[in-house]
Symmetry: C2
Subunit: 400 residues, 2 copies
């Protein structure tokens, strides 16, 4: 039910967007390929492509060999038309990465966050330092930067300006977008880190080619990014996908959010380690941080029946949580990611699938593949970098 007007100009913009998107995502293609796959006539494709080449967005990239007949030219998005910066604001560090439009990593910078609840200003300083560092490393000028995408581990409410609510950072309604934009004259996009990671998996990883996918991310916290009809689903105030605090065990363990029986309290790294400690009557797992402790637990499963049991229970809870996603969203794929999810999944994926099969309805379960993420944990910054690109593609290459 689209109640927007459609004018004649918009026809061109939409076609520019369609062709540019196709070239970016399915890259290099000939004019013929584009005509066939979009249904546009060849002259229309040539015409639009001519525009795009004229604007420097697209370049010809070698001829395809022919066996009689004029060989067609491959076309691709010009990798150096612009560069994009992706920022990962995690709980322990700020990472800034710079990519060209072929998503080649050009430079990166890392800033650890020592305090548990860093001040927004400190994070902004790191972001600015990082931007300066990567542009210098890659020897690009400010004007070459298409935009900056920022993935934050917390709820990001989109509006006139994005506001960040992040319990774990101690942030409530921080106008991160404005704070950064005040210092750099660039388009700034802020989004939830789970969603940017999902976007990265969607374009370049396990989500390629699917219209309906759920990215289930397990780390210290637990979240999900949901793609419906090919579009990242945000909901009315952009907090959709808060899977971690759905109730799985009514009246169960108290979660750090205050409620009881949240999924996160069972399958978040902290919840798993807590359950293991309780199973061992209080003996804690040694290790400097959660990641090493969780890995120690997973390794211990080779010898310890207790560790095995805790992991089996974890697979049961996680599988039930995944089953809920399958029942509610009916996706083609559920992709398990996040650092803890990847570590657990490597060993537990079959058990998780089995548990999900037991709790989900048969029909949607059989339509769904449950698999591991392909991009690893560092893809938050990569996904963040796609935010300005998505904007460019949607606008048909017209920069604001």
């Amino acid at each position: 039910m689209d109640l927007e007007r459609t004018t004649n100009r918009i026809v061109r913009q939409r076609n520019r967007s369609a062709l540019l998107s196709k070239l970016f995502l399915e890259g290099p293609l000939t004019r013929q390929d584009l005509a066939r796959s979009t249904g546009l006539s060849q002259p229309a494709v040539s015409n639009v492509v001519g525009d795009l080449i004229g604007a420097g967005l697209v370049v010809e990239a070698g001829a395809v060999e022919s066996d009689g007949g004029r060989p067609s030219m491959k076309l691709r998005v010009a990798p150096r038309y612009a560069v994009v910066a992706g920022v990962d604001v995690g709980e322990t560090r700020v990472r800034v990465e710079l990519f060209d439009l072929a998503m080649t990593l050009l430079a990166s910078a890392d800033y650890p966050l020592d305090s548990a609840g860093p001040a927004p200003e400190a994070v902004v300083r790191h972001i600015l330092s990082g931007l300066a560092a990567v542009t210098e490393q890659a020897a690009v000028s400010r004007a070459d930067i298409l935009g900056v995408g920022i993935g934050v581990s917390g709820v990001v409410v989109q509006g006139d300006e994005a506001l960040v609510h992040a319990q774990t950072l101690g942030w409530a309604g921080v106008p991160l977008e404005r704070l950064v934009r005040a210092e750099v004259d660039l388009p700034v996009h802020v989004d939830n880190g789970a969603k940017t990671l999902g976007q990265a998996e969607m374009w370049f990883g396990a989500g390629r080619g699917s219209r309906h996918a759920v990215f289930a991310l397990v780390g210290s916290g637990v979240g999900a990014a949901v793609v419906t009809n090919g579009v990242m689903y945000r909901g009315s105030s952009s907090s959709a996908g808060e899977w971690g605090h759905t109730t799985l065990v009514y009246g169960g363990r108290t979660c750090r959010c205050g409620a009881r029986g949240c999924l996160e309290a069972y399958v978040g790294a902290e919840g798993i380690l807590d359950r293991y400690r309780e199973a061992r009557r209080g003996r804690v797992v040694p290790g400097a941080d959660e990641e090493t402790r969780l890995n120690a637990l997973i390794e211990a499963a080779d010898d310890s029946a207790t560790a095995r049991r805790v992991l089996a229970e974890t697979a049961g809870y996680l599988g039930a949580g995944v089953a809920n996603l399958i029942n509610l969203f009916n996706p083609e794929r559920v992709v398990l990611g996040g650092w803890a999810g990847m570590a657990l999944g490597a060993r537990l994926l079959p058990a998780i699938r089995e548990a999900a099969a037991g709790q989900a309805l048969r029909q949607p379960y059989e339509q769904t593949e449950i698999e591991l993420g392909q991009l690893g944990v560092d893809a938050v910054a990569l996904g963040a970098a796609t935010l300005p690109i998505a904007q460019l593609l949607a606008a048909g290459g017209i920069r604001r």
Copy 2:
């Protein structure tokens, strides 16, 4: 990321669709209203409206009073341009209703289903009899019928032809659309009954004006219809929204689906009555059917502490289930419906809201209104009747 081509003709079709939809949903409106709200120029609106009037889809409906200046004409969708049939295939009856395009009920017919698992052919016979009956009652000809929408209590997989999987009817992959279309030469649309009821609430009831809404339906079974970005969400194989079989109490009561701890096993009418019976050490509630028994339980709460406790627990479970919907979908509204949901909600809505507040994250909870449906239980057929209309609006009034 729209990869479809856009041609010049499509401009007109999209604008026809936009204006026609607006007139249908918000009409009557003047040409000026349409121009202002869509952003189209006045001549363009006049031009398109002229087309629509010429096609008989739109009629002028009186002038609006002016204080100086030519008075503008109100426009509305012609109520008798066509009629639509809506069919509700429930577990106990088949109901056929006929509406004009102002959604005025013109005629209806009811056929009880006595056997628990009716044969598809028997249901098809009822539908055909019903269509014949309502067209005769309303004195309309076959050619006046725009189409037939059918809402079925079961999973409806859309494809080349809709297939119905309905446990409660004992149907597995019944090609209901084909079976009906073989007998009547009309466009036939089949969809899940929860989704058609949600569609009815969306257009004419509690969902009006929201882009993101969840319709939580509680009856014997429990389901949900989810509207995302103004569109009914179906998922990859149209089974999205199977809320009833999400796990709420891990390892809890066995559900009729075979899994354990499903929401439906706690808040479905059967689950509630079972829990009440157990709380009364096996003493069953008297009553011919589930509906009278549930109402008896609700009335008993005035006197019986046990009944009160069971209902309070029900509100707790239901609130947690609603909280899960809020966390995952971040809707503007959660609308509680279904016969049991309406009966429970009348008394328990405050308790349900409170339970949801306790289990949902604060930010999305505060963005969400939880309310009762406005259309009652019989809206399944009304919603089904909107299916051919939705098709007509999307096509800009071009009948296939």
